[in-house]
Point group: C2
Amino acid sequence: MDKFFFPESVVVVGVSSSHTNLARRILANLKRFGFTGRIYAAGPRPEEVEGFKPYKSVLDIEDKIDLAIVLTPAAVVPQIAEECGRKGITHMLIESGGFGEFEGDGSPTEKKLLEVCRRHGIRFVGPNCIGIINRENGLCTPFARVLDRFVKGGLSAISQSGGVGASFIMDMTLDFVGVSKFVSFGNAVDVKEHDLIEYLSDDPETEVIAAYLEGLSDGRKLLETASRVKKPIVMLKSNRHQSSKKIACSHSAALAGDDRVCRAAMQQAGVLLAQDYMSWTNITKQLFLPPMRGKRLAVLSRSGGHAVLAADAIDEFGFELPAFPQSFFEAVKEYFQGGIIKLQNPLDMGQIFYHPILAHIIEEALKLNEIDGVLFIHTYDAQEEGDIVHTMLSQIPDLIRRYSKPVTVVLHTQREERTYVRENFRIPVFRTPRFAVEAMHYSRINHEYVNSKKAWPYVSKDPDIDRLALPGAALEAGRDLTLSESLEFCEAAGLKLAPWRRVISLNEALQAASGLGYPLALKLCSSETSHKTDVGGVRLGIRNDSELREAWGRLEEISDAALEAVLQKMSEPGIEMIVGGKTDDSFGPVVLVGSGGIMTELLEDVSARVAPIDIDDANEMIEELKGVRMLKGFRGFPPADTKALATLIAKVSGIIHQVEAIAELDLNPVIVHADGEGFSIVDARVILKKPRSRQGC
Amino acid sequence: MDKFFFPESVVVVGVSSSHTNLARRILANLKRFGFTGRIYAAGPRPEEVEGFKPYKSVLDIEDKIDLAIVLTPAAVVPQIAEECGRKGITHMLIESGGFGEFEGDGSPTEKKLLEVCRRHGIRFVGPNCIGIINRENGLCTPFARVLDRFVKGGLSAISQSGGVGASFIMDMTLDFVGVSKFVSFGNAVDVKEHDLIEYLSDDPETEVIAAYLEGLSDGRKLLETASRVKKPIVMLKSNRHQSSKKIACSHSAALAGDDRVCRAAMQQAGVLLAQDYMSWTNITKQLFLPPMRGKRLAVLSRSGGHAVLAADAIDEFGFELPAFPQSFFEAVKEYFQGGIIKLQNPLDMGQIFYHPILAHIIEEALKLNEIDGVLFIHTYDAQEEGDIVHTMLSQIPDLIRRYSKPVTVVLHTQREERTYVRENFRIPVFRTPRFAVEAMHYSRINHEYVNSKKAWPYVSKDPDIDRLALPGAALEAGRDLTLSESLEFCEAAGLKLAPWRRVISLNEALQAASGLGYPLALKLCSSETSHKTDVGGVRLGIRNDSELREAWGRLEEISDAALEAVLQKMSEPGIEMIVGGKTDDSFGPVVLVGSGGIMTELLEDVSARVAPIDIDDANEMIEELKGVRMLKGFRGFPPADTKALATLIAKVSGIIHQVEAIAELDLNPVIVHADGEGFSIVDARVILKKPRSRQGC
């Protein structure tokens, strides 16, 4: 991978002297950024471009070439790769469009390109991208002009979209956040986002990694990679909704993952997932300050109104505003003219017109053990108060260093004044209190990640689960398991079910009933009927033989084949939950728990994790549910056995992870009894993977 | 009110030549803004300040004074008001702090001030504010310097906080949104937010009203006023959470309303409620473009990535992206070089480097009947492409006028470039696609409001409800109604209850049971026990005399007085809902509906309206519930009788509105049966208003 970022020689392929030629702009950028390596150009015509005489083919160049940068029509790219291969070039940046993002999934041009590159051992970034910028050696390959104000620093960014990546780098530059490396990787046909993150995690110049993704090449691999990275990763993931999937399909060929699973996976990976573009930029800025080590904020504001807005955000993001101790008031009260102010947190400093004092108050707040960070909100007119405010702000970087706590600054002032402050004092400046509080929240989350991160997956396989067998009949017929097969499978896996019998005649049913004891439920068995209740295939609360006879008769009416049913003991009451697993296209095995019944169906009160997980993860999943209050003892009900529920979730995680043939496992409902009394699984469904046609966009 | 905005003469009280004097800055602002009226100064010392010789008292001025602007210590303000009254001044702006926001609710200084002003017939804005700016006559009373770049235009803003108001006006000015009037009204002791909104609604220069509120002086009055205003009102309401209430208390004395009720009321009033400060500014900008008349957007973007981000926002805000008709493609496809692009909506225009073409494409999109507005996203480097982009952007204002549809512009470029575009082409420019889509959403909502707004309240009183009487015993004892009293009251109001009898002995119960028929429920009657189930005071599903005997015995055990109970027929199954009413501190009578049981308690799935409402409103409330899918027929259940439910909600609205003694009416659960079969109210609770001590902050 190093040759992508530190090539000693490059060739730009596709250059011509035409005014509309885009490849020539790459040459211009390389020159303007002072690329330290040797530069060559290749193109069909011999006229000099940007001071370079294009070679007809890379094969004509005598020098050894580390990296080829290609911007030609898509159709000729495989041929160029062929020539690169023969020339011994092992790394390519392919910026050309017209591949998967245009041809759709399974793009023939992409396939051909991949075949050529594999054959020659070529690794390539792209196609459909703007390539790489490396501030260390002046490598700069976008075909649009790149801002030269660009400060060198610890931020590296990768972006699937060249446009979003370029905007981000521009915005960070204008905020004077220094940049080390930038990669636009487009369709990610060969080099994937996780390859790049892995590279940047080892790069000594990179302190913070930012990523913009529209789809995921391999979610599971990304989770594995990111979980090992100790640097903060802050990600913007678009393409979360329906309409956006349409455009993303054409824009880049990557498949979009399910948003809920993606969010859960990034949490498991310790990746900060930003809500939108603005949050992404704000969080990134904040990460260059010391971390928020806790939830305790001091808010110092010149405007009471902005402090109220900050307090709304503080509640939204779960921060606390500890009362200031008496010592703080003693230290600061002398600064207040007139004293028409309440000494509280947030501190309204509207009465202070002598600004140097503000730096003292910030320092007093930083000194406090009960404060993890300071939010400083200032409102001023740059023309009137600029100079005196600058004197005060110039002390903030040193205060931050000395106390190793963040001072996050919100300035309500002229735009150019915010820019001036950013440039001259190199502190991040935020636009509104809410943006600042949100960024501090992510800083805190990142601090938690840093302290708790462990390389995923950390759960080893359960040999008992490996020994489990699925019913041969279902595997052979390529059908899903029937109810009784599903229940048998769960039982074999050691999951505790409400007592049940498979029955195929009324006599058998009556006999089984005397063994199980009433009340009972009678359920139709079929691999077809997914929602049995919808067709009336379930009869609950059967209290005696005569009711059983009647129920059996009803089932016979709706059953179109020989009747097979499950007779099951009605479970003792408890709290209905759903536990399940499924195979996600991008993340593979996923385990889920949801509040049962209508809570799940109507409100999607579901928590997910990529499997395998351990008991701690399972407990975390339970805690995330809105319905968790039901489990904790609600309105006089006893607390439920969440311990047993967590064990079940972890077990299902193991099953969906290890039994590869299962596409979906659904335990619904699981009745969770009072603490210490476990749970009863009342219904189970196992759906097997089917060979399926690859779905195009 | 006119004299606040158009005084012919003003006096600034509190002026001195001291460098730290704030009142002198008011004089400076009046001069700098070219106030067209006559200006006087008053203060204790005779030294000339800003060219004015201060009078010792307003009484010494010979001229007639329309408006006194006061910035002195709070303690002397009542005395100054006294002098103003004697001088015949009828309008005051009181900027001084140190009143309710410092002394707390029931501030003695505020009371005294109010008493003096009432006696003299003085109306005043403030205290604790920065007063008024009127661009028409140069009135400018803030004591901080005000930006002079300030364009004149159709925006007027009112703000409880001077700081937030000043930031907003500054931000709008930097966006080149023209301003007409600005009022910072602080503690709103006399002139309230609704007075100001009423004034601005009649002001011919004001096209859009923006408001920042931390608390509400009188929510009901605000609702009434705003519902009559035909101009867009866009409001930022802070102080929505717990911590923020603390600071708001000190910052301004206004009481905070319940956020849910506030949101519902502003919807009823046709007020656009912004999520946060940034949304507030973005929505305001958008309102100066033609309205979004529907949900159908065309997205034209140079960057596919930003288009994907836009599409995420489009789904979030419920917009649609109609497919472009063939005619559109015929019209635009010739503009595409090479043609490596999918002709779809969003349209990725990344391949177009000749910018003038973009204006043609925008126009082609505006021409389409199937498109209500255009989101135009452009990414460029101002140094490289500025000139050619400007030529294209300069055509947009004319396109907007000609087609009377919005073209909302997002520019990812340098900051100063965005400012340049705003200033030179006078079009709002947005920072990100999401901000733009959000603003377009509110534009659409406002368009709906404009078409559907009616002056609230529009429901006349129900004479039958006026005739209802509450039990004298409860009124006299100042206690809540018992269960049987509550049920009787509901019955008298014509609400359909599950059949019931009040019983005070086992014999009575057994006799009543034979009349009602089993199964039955037995419930403890008490005005104390609010959650009867918590103490075991409810026994459900009693199937025969012996079970009734047992249940009676249990109730006797937990009852500490002579047992009084309600025996009630178990309701047929249906969907559990909650219907109720309550009296909100700020908005008065409020009606509520919620999905019953745990849905309401755990998930707060509740919809509210300020009462009275009509059936249409009630139906809207039902539609807002997450649980509405349950009512519409879910998983094989028949659709429920939402018609009957809506009638009940409207009736409860009438009761809580007209029966003034009721603090809270709670029908929980209401079992809604299948369509055409109505509902059964199973339980009812009526809580009466108590005299209560005024709660300080």
